[in-house]
Symmetry: none
Subunit: 88 residues, 2 copies
DNA sequence: CCCCATTAGGGTAATTCGGGAA
DNA sequence: GGTGTCCGAATTACCCTAATGG
């Protein structure tokens, strides 16, 4: 099923994370986030991947104690998946 | 669905509370406030949650319960949003 | 074809992180 | 128990100009 592979621009991702578009570009350059390059060299990011990152991206299954239930995280799409997470 | 709240940087939250950014970081580490991490490891806080904390609406019960929990809710994480405990 | 907003790239300053000690 | 400050290191933000996208 479609994971919602809508492509987002660096500016969109930057607004979601409250960071500078340049920072998003740096993440892609560092391989922290999957990126698709246009023939011209510009980057595009997958909406599903960005969303997973925002939510805490976890492959951890965790339920809420209050509020509403939340379905499991979406399967990775075409990216290398959980390439790297947590490296400081 | 979307809370539609902006994300604040530790410095912003620190200025709101008149405390050190380091203190805000400790609150997040202690799970007293929800936090979203950037792929780089930096923290972002929800404007709505910070506002609620400033108003004092975050916790309606902070009486003596250090030894016997009553029903004060098991320390939700992000509050209105999906729970996600940061950890890396 | 031209127009305008956004993005890429490099470089430098400011902020944040993490742990430890006051 | 909680907060403010120190340190080194990493990450992020803003400066610029040129190219890409629509």
């Amino acid at each position: 099923m479609d994971t919602g592979d809508r492509l987002l621009t660096p500016g969109e991702v930057a607004a979601l994370f409250r960071v500078d578009p340049k920072t998003v570009t740096r993440w892609a350059a560092a391989g922290r986030i999957g990126s698709i390059r246009t023939p011209g060299g510009h980057r595009r990011f997958r909406e599903s991947e960005v969303r997973a990152l925002l939510e805490g991206e976890g492959m951890l299954d965790e339920v809420d104690d209050m509020g509403k239930p939340r379905n499991a995280g979406p399967a990775a799409s075409t990216g290398p998946g959980p390439a790297n997470a947590g490296m400081y």
